[in-house]
């Protein structure tokens, strides 16, 4: 069964991130907060696409549902979600 920690590693291995948090303990439904400098200058669709790209085939094969919040390092520094 896929764990939140494994999913966190998958994301971090595929995308340079400042910070990643993943929640979810049923092996299928996860929530992630991803902070990456690569998001700078990109819209939300492009930001989520970068995370999906990092997960590649796993998104199709292993992950049923991934709810995501993506932030640039600047937006994260200003936000209250810490």
């Amino acid at each position: 069964m896929l764990t939140a920690n494994e999913l966190r590693d998958y994301i971090m291995n595929g995308l340079p991130c400042d910070h990643v948090e993943v929640l979810g303990d049923d092996g299928q439904h996860f929530e992630a907060l991803v902070v990456s400098p690569q998001f700078t200058g990109k819209n939300k669709v492009q930001q989520h696409q970068l995370v999906y790209f990092a997960l590649g085939e796993r998104m199709r094969a292993e992950i049923h549902a991934l709810s995501m919040r993506t932030l640039t390092p600047d937006a994260w520094a200003q936000s209250a979600i810490k």
Partner: protein, 105 residues
């Protein structure tokens, strides 16, 4: 007509199109249901929807079309707007309402 052309026709022939699991009356997934409710909150009560569970070709085809691996997917005026998370964020920030209003004018 191949599947990509068929999808392009669907998203350009209708102002707002939702690709979802199930139907607005009987959604088969919480994310799809959430999307229907957000659209209703923006005044779109009878959204044009496509049930991907009814058509495996569309289900795969729309993932390629939007370069997006998940369902639901929302299109407005032929443009991919986002999946469930992005659309919810846009609604919370008032952007979805504006986008829909100007699209329907």
């Amino acid at each position: 007509m191949n599947i990509q052309e068929k999808i392009r026709n669907q998203v350009t022939a209708n102002t707002v199109v939702l690709y979802m699991k199930g139907t607005p009356q009987s959604p088969q997934c919480g994310f799809s249901d959430a999307m229907v409710q957000l659209l209703k909150a923006c005044g779109v009560n009878n959204v044009t929807s496509v049930d991907v569970l009814a058509d495996p070709e569309i289900r795969d085809g729309i993932k390629a079309y939007g370069s997006w691996p998940t369902i639901p997917q929302l299109y407005i005026k032929g443009e991919f707007v986002g999946g469930a998370d992005i659309v919810r964020e846009m609604y919370e920030q008032g952007e979805l309402q504006k986008l829909i209003q100007s699209a329907l004018e």
